[in-house]
């Protein structure tokens, strides 16, 4: 934003010693500075923290949350929420594991071993299906997003448990004779020394940036979250936009499920439990507003890295997992607190600019004030 009010404030800030700018920069770039602070603090506390290999390891953990957070960002930008992503992640992993074991067709008496690329496509399709159910419930049946996705959280988890009877698929390697090797490539392997999961995150992030910044759909997402009524009257297909963001969120969760089960070389039905909350936290730390319309990919990625680097750092310096939970919670609260400061500050600025800006907008002064010509005289009793 480069509106008048801000420029005015900047000038005023300089008049009063210039600290205003610094506060502003700190506030707007808080996720970035938080990440720097985390890296510096843990590098001091632990000699192993600041190393390329550790960063890559931590990044491959971040990849999971990052993927979920990107999907979540799309949903939150429209003013919704998707609580089902953690379960969808678990279900996707189990589904992939199930396919890797081979699908037997008893009538034909054959067992079909789909190649990995088919597994990936089918799993993403499953994620899209879960998202589509969410989206249709929310957009067309007017079920509140919180409730619809909470329901799917349970259903997806239940289905995952049913599929495996609560057990974990351990044999995901496939075999060369069956032509279904390569599953480990998704998360376990490295390309040019970088974990493939991290590269997948990067690709999805770039796709999201393009989607949000350069396509009509991206504009529709922002306008739906900013003011759905106005968007609808401007010809934005609000309902289709809502369905599609949940579909994309489901696909992101499925990709995360594939990467995670590849990293672990096993697929358990309880994988990803409570990950939806971490994903939301990442989006919020990244500066997006839960009311919709505000937020971006860069912030969300930073948010995911803040959470990932913080919790891994706490593990490395040997803080108990109980304290980790406390720290993570505190960071989330702090982030939301700063969000509300930022957005209420923005509103106040606008309100004050309505009153005080006179030169750039001569009209605002005269706003709602009556025509000067018609009021003179005529006062007093008449009958």
């Amino acid at each position: 934003m480069s509106d008048v009010s801000q420029d005015n404030d900047n000038e005023r800030g300089k008049l009063f010693g210039g600290d205003f700018d610094i506060k502003r920069v700190l506030l707007e770039g808080r996720a970035f500075f938080a990440l720097i602070a985390i890296i510096v603090i843990f590098s001091i506390l632990s000699p192993v923290y600041f190393s390329t290999s550790n960063f890559l390891t931590m990044s491959s953990h971040v990849a999971i949350f990052g993927l979920l957070s990107l999907g979540m960002l799309l949903v939150i930008l429209t003013g919704g929420i998707d609580l089902s992503v953690g379960s969808t992640l678990g279900l996707a992993g189990v589904f992939a594991g199930f396919l890797m074991q081979g699908v037997s067709f008893e009538i034909l008496g054959v067992v079909f071993y789909p190649p990995v690329w088919v597994v990936v496509i089918l799993t993403c399709g499953l994620g899209a299906l879960v998202g589509a159910i969410n989206g249709v419930l929310i957009a067309y049946f007017k079920v509140p997003a919180f409730v619809a996705t909470l329901g799917l959280l349970y259903v997806a988890r239940g289905v995952a448990l049913l599929m495996t009877d609560g057990l974990t698929y351990n044999n995901l390697g496939g075999s060369p004779e069956l032509g279904n090797t390569g599953f480990d490539w998704l998360g376990f392997n490295r390309l040019f020394g970088v974990p493939v999961g991290v590269l997948i995150l990067a690709v999805v992030a770039i796709a999201c940036i393009l989607l949000l910044a350069r396509t009509p759909f991206g504009r529709w997402v922002y306008s739906t979250g900013g003011n759905a009524r106005a968007a609808e009257l401007s010809g934005v297909p609000v309902k289709r936009v809502q369905v599609l963001v949940y579909v994309l969120s489901g696909i992101c969760a499925a990709i995360a499920g594939l990467v995670l089960s590849s990293q672990l070389t096993s697929a358990g039905p309880t994988a990803g439990t409570t990950y939806e909350l971490t994903a939301i936290a990442g989006v919020v730390i990244g500066g997006a507003a839960l009311t919709g319309g505000r937020g971006n990919v860069r912030g969300t990625l930073l948010g995911a890295f803040v959470i990932g680097f913080l919790s891994d750092g706490l593990v490395i310096i040997g803080v108990s997992s109980y304290w980790q939970t406390v720290f993570t919670g505190a960071v989330i609260i702090l982030a939301v607190l700063l969000n509300s400061i930022q957005y209420s500050g923005r509103k106040k600025q606008q309100a004050s600019s309505d009153g005080k800006t006179t030169s750039p907008q001569p009209e605002s002064a005269a706003e709602r004030s009556p025509a000067s010509g018609s009021t003179a005289g005529k006062a007093g009793t008449q009958s």
Binding site: D3, K356, A371
Partner: protein, 515 residues
């Protein structure tokens, strides 16, 4: 109850509350300028004025919602200051807002005592509350059971519950802001009976209404506000409808005249028998069998009071809302089944009434708002073209003369008039053939108003646009419109040419409906 009021030694007609030189400014905006205003004991004083004349601001000051910038309020000879509505209530002044402030899920009893529950030994004394509520409702001749949920009551009855609540705090002065705007004729009858009853019990009333003739039947004094000043004051027996209209409207700023010197085309938009049911009252229609046809290059003004069905009609033509019957034809093609987006594509757009709620996306910049409806025009393949978008936005900014320091400015940094031009510019960027505007002049100053009207007039004359705009200010009908259609209670009540006069338009709109 009402011991206070009845023990009052006031003679009928004595001034009980008066405002002296009240002024109120919001920043540079002067909503009220040195207004004097008297409320008479046991009588009704009605405040007349157009939208934005300052009626509501004055009432908010009298009831403690706002504090005046200068001037004083004198209650029974003593200057008083209300820092809150509670304080005003303690002094016996209550206000009933246009939007009722009842909790629909609670019972009549709970609403009457909301926030002032009678606490007995074992918690809230519901029996006593019920007894008092029943007594109040009986006094008001509306014996509603105290345990009835408010949402089950008709609007008129809900209003009486509000009155009961005001009486239960011993209100001596009751301010009613547009109490009849949503009532049926028989409900108005009941309300007026209650008002007469209150008068006889020594309650003084301040009444605001757009239904002029209706208000004349109940009032004892008339005060007219215009542009934040009191322009006239008189007792009921000295005045008539014509006097009120003359003082309300005054001489208007010139908003232009109907464009001429070109031939109008064929009918572009035809509305046939549109009927829209009222969601809150089954069996009633907010728009009742309305037909209208507009030619290319023609400007039609729809005049009507609040609740006349203008907004519902325009929204359903644009594709929002539930039409029960009727058809919308654009260039002879039935578009009744099409979505809003498809109608925009066919060249029919709506500039909605409430630009904050329906027109603008506050989280987006001026440029993003302007290009929102025409994204298709600058999309190549999957991606939008930034260069093309900049071009569209720059064109819009210059076409509708938006004063902004760039397309990246936040929408909140613009004045109301410029925000309105953004909404208009956004819809114009889709190159429409028919433009519907619902109260395009609402909340914008006279200069911006004139500019908006000039834009519409140019659009009609130069591009052959068919323009339909609605208004509740009679002065605006007599500006650029070739034809004036008056709506009243969901129906077209009358149609006039550009040479109509204010009095006949207002009379047709139902401002002359006798209760």
């Amino acid at each position: 109850m009402n011991e206070h009021a009845t023990s009052q030694e006031g003679t009928l007609g004595k001034v009980i509350l008066s405002a002296r030189n009240i002024a109120k400014s919001f920043g540079n905006v002067h909503a009220l300028k040195a207004v004097n205003f008297d409320v008479h004991y046991g009588q009704v004083t009605t405040l007349f004025g157009e939208n934005g004349a300052g009626k509501s601001t004055l009432m908010k000051i009298l009831s403690g919602v706002m504090q005046p910038s200068s001037g004083e309020i004198i209650l029974e000879g003593e200057p008083v200051r209300f820092s809150s509505t509670t304080e005003a209530q303690r002094q016996g002044i209550s206000i009933i807002h246009q939007e009722l402030s009842l909790a629909p899920n609670l019972s009549v009893r709970d609403n009457v005592f909301m926030g002032r529950e009678i606490v007995g030994k074992g918690g809230v004394d519901y029996a006593e509350e019920s007894r008092q509520t029943r007594q109040l409702m009986e006094e008001l001749d509306e014996p509603i059971d105290p345990l009835t949920p408010v949402e089950d009551l008709r609007l008129g009855q809900q209003q009486i519950v509000e009155i009961a609540r005001a009486l239960s705090v011993n209100s001596r002065i009751l301010i009613m802001d547009e109490p009849t705007s949503a009532l049926s004729a028989s409900e108005v009858e009941v309300l007026f009976r209650v008002i007469r009853d209150l008068k006889s019990r020594g309650v003084s009333l301040v009444y605001i209404s757009h239904h002029l003739e209706e208000a004349l039947t109940i009032t004892d004094h008339a005060v007219v506000l215009r542009d934040g000043r009191m322009t006239a004051y008189a007792a009921r027996q000295e005045i008539d409808l014509e006097w009120i209209v003359r003082n309300m409207v005054g001489e208007n700023f010139d908003l232009g005249s109907p464009p001429d010197g070109y031939a109008m085309g064929d009918a572009v938009l035809s509305i046939e028998g549109i009927t829209i049911p009222d969601v809150s009252v089954p069996g009633r229609a907010v728009v009742d069998d309305v037909s209208l046809s507009v030619r290319a290059g023609e400007i039609v003004c729809i005049y009507g009071l609040m609740g006349a069905g203008r907004t519902e009609l325009l929204e359903s033509v644009a594709g929002r809302g539930n039409m029960a019957a009727g058809r919308v034809l654009l260039h002879g093609e039935d578009i009744s089944r099409l979505s809003i987006a498809e109608r925009i594509e066919k060249g029919l757009v709506l500039v909605p009434e409430d630009r904050q709620r329906d027109g603008l996306v506050q989280t987006m910049s001026v440029g993003e708002n302007l290009s929102l409806a025409s994204i298709g025009a600058f999309t190549k393949g999957l991606l939008t073209s930034r260069g093309r978008e900049r071009h569209v936005v720059r064109e819009s900014i210059s076409n509708v003369h938006i004063k902004t320091d760039g397309s990246a400015a936040s929408i909140g940094s613009l004045s109301g008039g410029n925000q309105q031009k953004v909404v208009i510019g956004k819809m114009m960027a889709t190159h429409p053939r028919v433009v519907l505007l619902d109260e395009p002049s609402r909340g914008i100053d006279i200069g911006a108003k004139a500019e908006v009207f000039r834009l519409l007039s140019e659009g009609a004359a130069q591009q052959g646009l068919a323009v339909v705009f609605s208004t509740s200010e009679v002065g605006e009908c007599l500006s650029i419109a070739h034809r004036i259609v008056v709506m009243s209670r969901g129906r077209i009540a009358a149609e006039f040419g550009a040479d109509a006069n204010k009095e006949e338009i207002m009379a047709a709109s139902g401002e002359a409906v006798v209760a």
